[in-house]
Structures are given as structure tokens and as C-alpha cells.
Amino acid sequence: MPAALLRSLGSPRVVIALCMILCIMFCAVFASRIAPNDPGDQNLLSILTPPFWVEGSDPAFVLGTDSLGRDVLSRLIYGARTAVLVAFFASLGAMIVGTILAHVSGYFGGTTDWVISRLVDVWMSFPPVILSLILMVGLGVGLDRVILAIILVDWTRFCRVLRSEVLVVTRHDYVGAARLLGFTHWQAITREVLPATLPLLITLMSLEMAIAVVVEAILSFVGLGVGANQPAWGQMIADARQYVYQSPWNLLLPALAIFLTVTSFNLLGDGLRRTLDVRLAESGR
């Protein structure tokens, strides 16, 4: 498994994606150091200034300011912090919940499997965005609530895909053989089944990060996200919507940030899938 991960570094997809993700992570971690201005500082004397390559820009605000005179670049950098936090913790949480239920469901089968699978069916029949909006209304705004809402909506994605993989692995005789040698169910799942589903799990997790970024942006856009005092890309798009004719850059720049982040997570997921998935790796990539 570690060898396969190292091998995946040979794929250009993974390398490009990792470089982009590292840049975003860097912005997120060192936001307070690298941001030129405080993202909340309102500068009402210079509102809606354009970015530096457009005439009439202000050198103090490299990417211009928004309708309240806040520095766009600083807000983008702090927005990365929100996006990365949500992407990481929401996908981790969804992965843990989904993985546990998928392994229980696929390994034990029978009634347990039936109950969990029907629960997933019912859950997935709600439109995910509507479900998360309803949850946010109930939970209230805030970063932790956004993460919780995404976990509650997206665990089903992991559960359904992993369950079928667990079913395939569990049917192998080596899982039965482990039981014969005295392994408990827990040991059989963690030592025989889980290592086989891990490649899929990692791939799913990186794809889920992309989804979490989009969902967070949507929630912030409608004002049910992380809260007004914390900069978020979705919020920036919502703010810029009113002045889109005067200052299109305010809308396009956060949209570009979302696009780049989602693309890099998707690229990473795709690259990892190609190297970690034995079936694809054997047929030559």
C-alpha cells in the first residue's frame, strides 16, 4: 500500500494536483502571515476597485476591493482556510461514518445489510443540497455546523460504493480462512477486508473533498454557511452578485478559486484511482 502510494507520484496527474493542493493548503495555514490586509477591514473610501491589471486599480489592493472596500486577495486567502477545513474534516467524517457502516453491512450481510442499505436508499432519495440546507436551518450557521451537515448528507456516498467492494472482498476464501484460524469478526474486517478496500477509500475521500468544497460554497452563497464574520468563497460570490456589472472580477475571482480547488481534488482522485486500483493498473494506464 505505501509502495502503491509512492508509485502514484509517478503519475503527472497526481503531481500537478498535489502541487495545487499544497499551494491552497499553504494559503490556508499561513493566511494571517501572507494576507496583505485584514479580510474584515472595511475601507469605504475605495470600494469596488478593480484588480491590478485593470486601469484605475489601487496598489494597496492587488486584486481590488469589494462593495464594502474589503481586500479581495486577503478574503480569497482566508476563504481558502474555510474551504480546506471543510474539505478535510467533512470528508474525513463522512468517510468514517460511511466506511464503518459499509463494512458492517457488506461483511455481515443478511438483515444488517438490508437495514443499512434501505437507510442509504431513503437517505439518498432526498436531493443532497436541499437536505443540507434544511439541516443548516436546523443546526444554525458556523464552520462546525457546515462540516456536520456535509457529513450527514454525504456518508451515503461512501457507504454505497464501499459496500459493494466489501461484498466482493468478503467473498474471497481468505476472509473465511481467517475466521477458521480464530480471527474475531473485528480482526477479520480490519486485517483482511479493510486493507483491500483502502485504495477505493482513499480515492473516494479525495473526490469527496471536491464535493465538500462545492457544498460549502453553495451553503455560504445562500447565507447558511460559516457565518458572516468568516470569509468564504461562496459568500464572496453572493456579495459580488449585486455589482456584477460594475465589477465582474469580484464574482469571477472566487469562482476561479473554487474551480481550481475542485479540479485539483478531482485530478488527485482520478490519478490515485488509476494507480491504486489494481484492475486499472494492470491494463496499463
Binding site: 473465511g176 480462512a177 475466521r179 477458521l180 480464530g182 480471527f183 474475531t184 480482526q187 483491500a196
Partner: protein
């Protein structure tokens, strides 16, 4: 002089491996006259399937004909324009595949497929096509052929599918039929009728047949001529009977001695060391390719490849010590079948297993009885065989005994403790009944190394053995199962089939079990590897002293290894007793059917099941 149907002259098929071309087949020559059956015999990897593939131009990627010629009725097959070859294939040249179930289209009826085939043959009249299809199916001895036309492949048994495909193959009146292991995927009891059908059709149509098989005895019964292949080379060829009665190449002789006997007195198996070289190894070999495994090897063998010379009428052999081959004899002592112990270790009492089919929520559920009131016992140190055709419930009994399935009724007593008692599950008692699984590919976790697999029992439960302890045990176990110590760090993907099966056995032996259940553990392996494993099991019994339930469909293997036999038929044990008694005087019709499916040891004696006199149907 008549035109030969197929003639190969110094045919060479090269495979591209790591940028270098390795000959997968070298210098292969044979003549096939109309109406003859030619047997291509060899173990897996010998290159025997390459001939059929060369003819159809279906060689795997990277393989191509590099030298020599292959003539079909005087025409060069490889150089033929594609249109001409398409016109021949399926018409003048027909194929009978190895996997009849997958060779038929699952979503088309038999009738639709036959209709399509006949339309391609140029039969324009729809009604005429239907009549021809019915006549062809009837000729293949299929019951109610008209009804069969509206059925799908999954509604037929494997034997019936193969009959349908034989009807397909012969419906175009072909001049050449290539049958690639046509019975290997089928139950043993349908082998003789299928082979008989091929022989009859061949005689009726005067067709030339290439019969590809791994079974020397079977080839001797069916074929006129035999070519024995080893590592891509025809090492011996000639009239079928004379090759088997007087094998001139050491490999043919060893192969014969590695096969357990069925009718003649039991003898020890000859064990060839190692295995056939792979294509990769072939690239760096010089001299005779059999030399590393040959009991007659001399220094000259490693110098140059021995020429293919004629030793008798039509009998050719590629060995410089051909005259001495008949002196090869087994030196190992014959494994004793029983070490008279009267103490019962495992007692099975009226064991039952029922499965519910359908969930009962939508539509009715019904139950299927997989095992009906099975009762038997195994004594200490005793090897008991469980035989029967697929679906008879053999594997279900194995799973019930080890606790992978729960019994619907009955008792399993291990030294008096009832294993069906739920409180005993996962106890030490349970763990002393171990199982070796049929398919080592599936039974070995591809992510664990050999050391971790064979000592897996030591990481079970709350016991935590240190790595030093486990490595020490690994060393002992690898020695027991006959693998070198450096195998400990390998992954299952780096092992051959025989080595994997050894690891599979080693894992079950880690905590020396009282009873070992072996489910068809040699069935997928080549004869020489099978002989290695059978002798390994016999040796392990005398060293470790365990009892075994040996599940198999191969009666000659059962006769070699086991002292008692249980015959299973449709979930019931229909006959049981000492092997020699049951085989000499079978009481149940199914036991007789199983026994008649084994070809005789002596190529000169007739195989009654293959003669048309016997009226059998499946």
C-alpha cells in the same frame, strides 16, 4: 496421395517479452490426414493451445508466427487473406471450446444462435434452417431438440451446452475440428459421453480432429496420433498406443508415473522436481529444456537441444537417452493408506443443511436441501475421501464441518464435543478442524507475505505472538511444506499455482489440526504438481498425524491417498466403505458412473464408457 488436412512444418511462434522475442513454440511439425484424430498433450504452459490460436489467428497480443509453415489442405494459413480465412473458419474449420457455458450467448436462445450460424453458412430458407438445427441437435443426442431451440444457455447443464456446441461445430460439415480441452470444465461423469459424441461425429463426417488435452490416458483412448509437448517443443510424437505403452522420452514416462493408477495395483507416484520453465526462464535456457527435471540427465543434455529423431514407425522423440526412458521407476516408498487406528476423531450424525431460495417478500420462498442426513465418521490419522459431481453437496459439508455455514440439523462430534453447539464456536476445539480451500488464488490474501499467511493463526484472538516467534514457526512450516526459506518474504502473486497451494496447506497446519478438510485441492493443478502435493500430504500425515476429509472428483487420486470413500449424490451419501471394496464392487448407480468415467491405465485395454454399446445419457 491425398491432401493432408493440416500440416505444420517447423512452426515457430514467438512471444515478445521485455523487448526480446522468446519462442513459445519451436520446431513443431505434424501431419494430420482427413479422418484422423491428433492429440496434443502437455501440462499448462506447454504451448498446446497456441496451435488452435495460430489457426484462428487469435494469438494473444505480443505473440506471432515467426517461422515455419502451417498448411490447411495445402494453403498457407498465416499468409491467407483475411476474407479467405473468414470463409474457412466456422465452415471448413470449426472449434469446440473449453468453457461451453460461456461460449454460448446468454441473452440469445439456442435456436436464434443456431439460426444465425446456419444463415452464415448460406442456408437461405428460414424453415430449412430450423429443420437443419433440429437434425443437428438430435444427432448430438440432445433430447427434445425442437423445445431446446427456444431455451437459453443458463437453462442447460454444462454437458448439454457442450453437446449444443458440438452440434454447432459439425453442422457445417467441417474438414477440421479443433477441440481445446472440451471436457475439462465439465463433471467427470459426462466426460465419456461427450468424448464418445466427438468420436462418433468425427467418424460420421470423416473429419480430422485436433484434440488438445492434459490427460495422457484420455488421449491414448481417443486419438490416433499423439504429440507430447513440453515448454513449447514437441518432445515425442507418434501413434497413440505405442507412445503410451513404450514412452521413449523421460518426460512422457515421468508424466505417466506421476498419474495415480485406477485399476492396476497401487504404486508410488513419480515426483518430478520443480515445474515447467516459464517463457521468461526459457529465454535464458540452453540445451534440453527438460534437463533440470530429468532423472536421466547427463552433461551432454545441457550442451545442445537434442534433435527430433525417428525411433520406430512414425514414433519420433527428442532425447539423446531415449532408449533408457523405460527404466525410470519410482524410488519413493508407497504411501500407506491407513495406519489402523480405531479411535474415532470426528463423528457426523444426520447432518442437514437447507437453504431458502427467494426472500419470501416478493414471490414464494422455497427450500433446497443441500445436505440430507449425512452420517459418517473419521478415525484418527485416517484419510477419508468424499466424491461426487458438482452440486452434490460436497463443499457444503466442508463448510458445515468448519463452521463457515450453520447446520440446519444433526450433530458434528469432535472427540465427543458437539461443534454445532453455538457456545463452542471460535473455541480451540473449532480451530482444530481446519480447511484447505480449493482455489489458492482466492484463499490467500494478496497483500500478506508468505510468512504472515502461514502463521496467521498466531495473530488470532487475544494472543499476540512476536515477530521472532512467528518467523521461527514460518521456518518450520516452510520446511514441512517443502518451500525454501526465502519464500517467507514473497507475496502470493509471486508464487506458482503449486507453491500457492503449498502455502495454503501450510496455513492450515500452523496449529497442527486434528482434522483437515481439503476441498478439491489438487483439481486445478498439473499432473506433476499434483503428484508433488499428494506425496506431501501423505508425508505430513505420517509426521504430524492428522485425519483428513479429502474432497475430490478424481477417483484415481482418491484411490492413491485415501483408505475410505464416501460417495455423494444430490445431497445424500449414497455409498461408503473402504476404497478398494467400493471401487471393485460399486453398489450405487452413481458410483458406477463415476468409476466408468476414469480412462483405463493401460492404453491397450478398451474404455467401455467410450464404446457406443453402453447406453448412457445425461
Amino acid at each position: 496421395m491425398t491432401v493432408l488436412t493440416l500440416q505444420a512444418k517447423d512452426l515457430e511462434v514467438g512471444a515478445r517479452i521485455d523487448g526480446q522475442v522468446v519462442p513459445a513454440i519451436r520446431g513443431l511439425s505434424f501431419d494430420l490426414a482427413p479422418g484422423e484424430i491428433l492429440g496434443l498433450v502437455g501440462e499448462s504452459g506447454a504451448g498446446k493451445s497456441m496451435i488452435g490460436r495460430s489457426i484462428a489467428k487469435l494469438l494473444p497480443p505480443g505473440f506471432e508466427i515467426t517461422a515455419g509453415s502451417l498448411l490447411f489442405e495445402g494453403e498457407r494459413l498465416p499468409q491467407m487473406p483475411p476474407a479467405r480465412r473468414r470463409a474457412l473458419l466456422g465452415r471448413a474449420i470449426a472449434f469446440i471450446p473449453q468453457q461451453p457455458m460461456t461460449a454460448l450467448n446468454p441473452v440469445m436462445t439456442i435456436g436464434a444462435q443456431f439460426d444465425e450460424h446456419l444463415a452464415r453458412l448460406g442456408e437461405d430458407n428460414r424453415k430449412g434452417r430450423r429443420e437443419r438445427a433440429i437434425a443437428a441437435l438430435a444427432a448430438a443426442r440432445l433430447p427434445r431438440p425442437a423445445d431446446l431451440l427456444s431455451q437459453y444457455a443458463h437453462q442447460l447443464s454444462g454437458g448439454m451446452c457442450q453437446r449444443v456446441l458440438i452440434a454447432f461445430a459439425f453442422s457445417s460439415n467441417p474438414r477440421l475440428v479443433i477441440a481445446d480441452e472440451p471436457t475439462t470444465a465439465l463433471d467427470v461423469t459426462v466426460h465419456p459421453p461427450i468424448l464418445r459424441l466427438i468420436a462418433e461425429m468425427q467418424q460420421q463426417h470423416g473429419t480430422a480432429v485436433i484434440f488438445i488435452t492434459h490427460d495422457l490416458r484420455l488421449a491414448a483412448q481417443l486419438c490416433d496420433k499423439i504429440v507430447v509437448m513440453y515448454a513449447g517443443r514437441a518432445i515425442e510424437s507418434g501413434p497413440a498406443r505405442s507412445i503410451l505403452s513404450k514412452p521413449a522420452h523421460p518426460y512422457t514416462r515421468c508424466l505417466q508415473l506421476a498419474n495415480p493408477t485406477m485399476h492396476s495395483p497401487r504404486r508410488a507416484l513419480y515426483v518430478m522436481p520443480d515445474q515447467m520453465p516459464s517463457l521468461r526462464q526459457l529465454a535464458n535456457m540452453s540445451g534440453c529444456h527438460f534437463a533440470p527435471r530429468c532423472p536421466l540427465v547427463v552433461a551432454n543434455c545441457r550442451q545442445a537441444e537434442p534433435p527430433n529423431v525417428a525411433i520406430a514407425n512414425g514414433h519420433r522423440v527428442a532425447c539423446i537417452r531415449a532408449t533408457e526412458a523405460e527404466n525410470i521407476a519410482t524410488t519413493d516408498a508407497l504411501a500407506a493408506t491407513t495406519e489402523n487406528s480405531q479411535r474415532t476423531v470426528l463423528q457426523v450424525d444426520k447432518l442437514q443443511k437447507r437453504y431458502a431460495i427467494g426472500d419470501g417478500l416478493f414471490g414464494g420462498a422455497r427450500t433446497v436441501e443441500a445436505v440430507k442426513d449425512a452420517s459418517f465418521s473419521i478415525a484418527e490419522n485416517e484419510f477419508v475421501a468424499l466424491v461426487g459431481e458438482s452440486g452434490s453437496g460436497k463443499s457444503t459439508i466442508a463448510k458445515l464441518l468448519v463452521g463457515l455455514e450453520q447446520a440446519s440439523g444433526g450433530r458434528i462430534l469432535l472427540n465427543g464435543d458437539d461443534l454445532t453447539d453455538p457456545s463452542l464456536r471460535h473455541s480451540a476445539e473449532r480451530a482444530s478442524v481446519q480447511m484447505v480451500f480449493q482455489d489458492p488464488q482466492s484463499a490467500l490474501n494478496p497483500r500478506r507475505r508468505v510468512a504472515s499467511i502461514v502463521t496467521q493463526a498466531m495473530e488470532a484472538g487475544t494472543r499476540h505472538a512476536t515477530w521472532e516467534e512467528r518467523l521461527k514457526r514460518t521456518g518450520e512450516l516452510l520446511a514441512e511444506i517443502g518451500l525454501a526459506a526465502d519464500f517467507a518474504t514473497r507475496l502470493p502473486g509471486q508464487l506458482s499455482g503449486g507453491q500457492r497451494q503449498r502455502v495454503n496447506i501450510g496455513r492450515a497446519l500452523c496449529n497442527i489440526p486434528k482434522v483437515l478438510i481439503a476441498d478439491e485441492i489438487v483439481s486445478g493443478l498439473d499432473v506433476s504438481i499434483q503428484a508433488q502435493l499428494l506425496n506431501l500430504l501423505a508425508r505430513l500425515r505420517s509426521e504430524l498425524g492428522f485425519a483428513m476429509l479429502f474432497i475430490s472428483h478424481d477417483l484415481s487420486v482418491v484411490r492413491y491417498l485415501c483408505s475410505r470413500v464416501l460417495v455423494m449424490y444430490r445431497g445424500e451419501i449414497v455409498e461408503q466403505g473402504p476404497v478398494e471394496t467400493v471401487f471393485a464392487n460399486p453398489q450405487h448407480a452413481h458410483t458406477r458412473a463415476l468409476l466408468s468415467s476414469v480412462p483405463p491405465d493401460d492404453p491397450q485395454s478398451p474404455w467401455p464408457a467410450l464404446r457406443p454399446a453402453a447406453s448412457m445419457s445425461n
